[in-house]
Symmetry: C2
Subunit: 182 residues, 2 copies
Amino acid sequence: MALKHTILAFLSRQSLSGYDVAKEFAEGFGSCFWKASQQQVYAELTKLEQQGKVAYEAIPQPGRLDKKIYSITEQGQQELLDWLTQPCEPSAIREDLGVMGLAGHLVSPQVVIREIERRRQLHLETLQQVKKLDEHFAKHRDSLELKDLYMHLIIRRGIRYQEEWVAWCDEALGAITQAVNR
Amino acid sequence: MALKHTILAFLSRQSLSGYDVAKEFAEGFGSCFWKASQQQVYAELTKLEQQGKVAYEAIPQPGRLDKKIYSITEQGQQELLDWLTQPCEPSAIREDLGVMGLAGHLVSPQVVIREIERRRQLHLETLQQVKKLDEHFAKHRDSLELKDLYMHLIIRRGIRYQEEWVAWCDEALGAITQAVNR
DNA sequence: TTGACATATTCAATTTCTTGAGTATACCGT
DNA sequence: ACGGTATACTCAAGAAATTGAATATGTCAA
C-alpha cells in the first residue's frame, strides 16, 4: 500500500502536521492521484512514528492538544527510496459508473444521460481546480528543475485525466442521443 | 461499495458461476473498470445469497464440490435498480506512480525514466486487450441496441483510459529527457 | 508422463478503509 | 452575538480488501 509511501514522500519535501498532510490529500494531490481521509492519515502517521520512520516535534498550544510537526527520519527516507526503486503496478480502476455499462438497459436512457451529464460537470469543475495547481509550473515549463518538473508532470496527469473524462462524456452523450432518436 | 452492484449487474445479464464472475473481473470488465479477486467474489456472492438478492442452483460434479450457478432474484434486481437510479461519485484515484511526482528527485532520472517506460509498455498491452473486447461492438457502432451501446461505451472508456496513459508517458518521457539534456 | 494451465470452491489471518462521533479553539463576516 | 468555516487531533466499530493456502479434477502439449 502506497498511502504510507505517499505520506513519506510529502514529508520528504517538508515537515508537516497531520492536519496539513490530510489537507494535501483532500485538495492538491488528492484531486490528482490519491485520496485519503484525515483519520487514515493520522492513523498512518502514528504507525510510521512507532516504526521510527517519522518523528514529530510537539508544539504546545494553549488550551488544546499539542500540534505535532512530523519529519521523515533516516529510516523513513530509506524505506521511501527502496520503494521508489522498485517497479510499481498500475492501480486498479474501480469506477461506479462502469456498472451502467453492464446494467444501464434496466433504467431509462434519461437516467443514464442525466448521470453522464452530472459527471461531465463534476470533472469539469475538478479540472479547473487541478489546472490552478499547475499554473505556476506551466508558466516555466521549459526551465523547471527536476523536482518541480516531476510535480508538474503529475499534475499534468491529473489534468489529462479530467479532460479525458469530459471528452468521454461528450462521446457517450452524443452516441446515446443519436441511438435514442433513431 | 459497488462490488456488490457490479456482481448483481453481471447476473442481470446472465446467470453465472462464481468462477465465471471472477473471470469477468479479471479479464473483460476488470481491465476496464473494476478489479476484484476470486475470494472477494465468492465472499460477496455468499453474502448476497444470504440476503436473498441472488440464488444459486447447485450443479453436482462427480468427485468435487458442487458448481453453483447464481442468478439474480427479484429483490436483487430491485436493489440494483435503486442503486442505478442514484447519482454516483467519481471514484478515488490511487496511483502509485504519483508518488514519483512528490519524491522522484530522490532517485536518479534514469530510474524515473525506466519506470515510465515500463508503464507505457504495460498500458500499451492492456490497450490491445481492451480493443479486442470492443471489436464486435465497434463494427456495428451505429446500429447497436442500447444494451450493447452502453457496453461499447464503457469499453471505449477503458480504451481511452489506456490511450491516455500512453500519451502521458510520452509527454513525460519527452519533458524529462529534455530537462536532463539541458 | 509430467508439468502447466484451466476449472471450481473454501477458509482464515491480517491489513486497510470507511463512517461517524467527540473535543476544543480561533477567526471572519453579518 | 451568532453561525460558519478553519485549525488540530483522537477514538472506535465495522466493512472491505489483500494475502496466502488448501483441495481436487480435466485437458493439452512437450
